[in-house]
């Protein structure tokens, strides 16, 4: 007759306690020959150092690779996000890198309704309404 336990695995609540930046690596590729990489080459020579210094939690990896340039974000949940930066100027690339660093790697949601604006793992805080527990004098009668 003893009580038995059902095993569980504790789930993460990033931001409660410690906060771990979800983006672990940003890879930038460029080509030394192609014109579509011109903006990327400018970005690498002028802006990258400052951005990398601003985000010490993220590893910035630069790869010479033929073809159009891309930037790729890798996340702690194992997902990747790739953005093509073909023929883009350094300012645009900067914006996209900022976007990658601020995301969590989750799939983008289509829309959330009014009920989904707060996601909770805790049990219902105010309980469930019950007709059995209302005062009998005000109870609805058929």
């Amino acid at each position: 007759m003893p009580i038995r336990a059902i095993s569980q695995v504790a789930t993460a609540r990033n931001g409660l306690g410690a906060f771990i930046v979800p983006c672990k690596r940003v890879t930038l590729t460029y080509c030394n020959w192609g014109g579509s990489s011109q903006g990327m080459r400018d970005f690498l020579t002028k802006d990258l150092k400052a951005i990398a210094a601003k985000h010490p939690q993220i590893e910035f990896k630069v790869m010479k690779k033929e073809g159009h340039p891309i930037i790729k974000g890798e996340y702690n949940n194992g997902k990747e996000k790739v953005i093509s930066v073909r023929k883009r100027d350094p300012l645009w690339i900067n914006d996209k890198i900022y976007l990658l660093t601020q995301q969590s790697g989750k799939k983008l949601i289509k829309n959330f309704g009014k009920k989904q604006d707060v996601e909770s793992q805790n049990e219902s805080i105010r309980g469930i309404w019950s007709p059995m527990h209302t005062d009998p004098s005000v109870r609805h009668r058929v």
Binding site: S7, G78, E123
Partner: protein, 348 residues
């Protein structure tokens, strides 16, 4: 994706005789079991400082570790203080294996395991002082089991070093880059894709990932002191979410409740019908309360009287076992005044 076919014996129906399970795709199979460390034991067995590990492993230097971008980024991601050396972090990422070049984290992981188990047990004992021992163990396992710790390491962005030496050579990768990844012994031979070999009850990959978390905790204790380690455990382990109320499985809740009341010298529990509707319909609802003397212990609702009664008993049991004191203080806190132990029978 390969399919692992498992035939379940004892089920006679031909439709369910063979069941197929898909197994998650993995790149490698695992080494049979974790390597056990060998020690150089000093003549005086209690001179703990003279114990050494057998083998010719060398320590990682901080200068080498600083050349590994993954390692530096991980250090920053975990918000470790400056005084936490990069070399220690590199050692935390070296799981015990045959032929390791650098010193491994076996001792650190054992140290960290003891720390994390103690602090989480203490937290649970104080915050849920009436939890039954089985549930306490299960809750501790939910926080500090290998599976959870391995998951924490993955969420930190720790990566396995699964590139072969040839691949590293071809991309001309500096040797130090490997220090930023978790190294453990994996057999490269791949007899069948998609099969996870777990022998001797040890999943080496999981053990390796879990060892990272334990070792980092040990490192925080070494470099930043006991209080910092405790804070680190609270931030990274105890801050996670478990639902203890869903961990209970009662076989005979009413009998359990009767036993509990007799242990606590309370009057025997009595079930009473509080409200009902539609008794003669297809969907009746009964609300039953369980009382000991004049105090209500629990309440449950159900479509039959029996169901409502047993739910009420489960509710009463959970109300008792999941009691939480207001503003509890843990024993490791200097403000602790020993008010934890109360007079109840089996609890403490």
């Amino acid at each position: 994706m390969s399919i692992l076919r498992i035939v379940q014996k004892g089920i006679r129906s031909p439709n369910v005789l063979s069941r197929s399970f898909t197994v998650s795709k993995q790149n490698w199979t695992y080494a049979p079991s974790v390597v056990t460390p060998k020690f150089i034991v000093p003549a005086d067995l209690t001179s703990f400082g003279d114990y050494k590990r057998a083998g010719s492993q060398i320590p990682v230097t901080n200068a080498d570790a600083a050349k590994a971008p993954g390692l530096v980024a991980l250090h920053a991601r975990l918000q470790l203080p400056e005084s936490f050396e990069l070399a220690t972090l590199a050692r935390s990422l070296t799981f015990i294996a045959e032929g390791n070049q650098y010193a491994d984290n076996a001792g650190m992981a054992l140290f960290g395991k003891n720390l994390v188990k103690y602090y989480v047990t203490e937290y649970l004992m104080v915050h849920y002082p009436r939890l039954p021992a089985v549930i306490l163990r299960a809750a501790l396992n939910a926080y500090t089991g290998e599976e959870t710790l391995a998951q924490i390491a993955r969420e930190w962005g720790v990566e396995a070093d699964n590139k072969s030496e040839m691949e590293k050579f071809l991309v001309d990768e500096p040797k130090e880059f490997s220090l930023g990844r978790l190294s453990f012994d994996k057999v490269d031979t791949n007899p069948e894709r998609g099969v996870t070999v777990v022998e001797g009850g040890v999943n080496v990959q999981q053990a390796a990932f879990a060892s990272v978390v334990k070792s980092v905790i040990a490192g925080v204790h070494a470099h930043n002191g006991a209080d910092a380690a405790k804070q680190f455990i609270h931030d990274h382990v105890i801050s996670r979410h478990i639902d203890i109320s869903q961990m209970f499985q009662f076989q005979f809740p009413t009998r359990e409740l009767t036993n509990l009341c007799s242990r606590q010298s309370l009057e025997p529990p009595v079930a009473r019908l509080l409200a009902e509707t539609g008794r003669l319909t297809v969907s009746p609802v009964f609300v039953i309360g369980i009382f000991s003397g004049s105090s209500k212990l629990g309440e449950g609702q159900g479509n039959s009287l029996l169901e409502a009664k047993s739910r009420a008993a489960v509710n009463a049991l959970k109300n008792y076992y999941l009691y939480r004191p207001i503003d509890p203080v843990v024993p490791s806190d200097p403000k602790y005044d020993g008010s934890l132990i109360d007079g109840s029978a089996v609890v403490i």
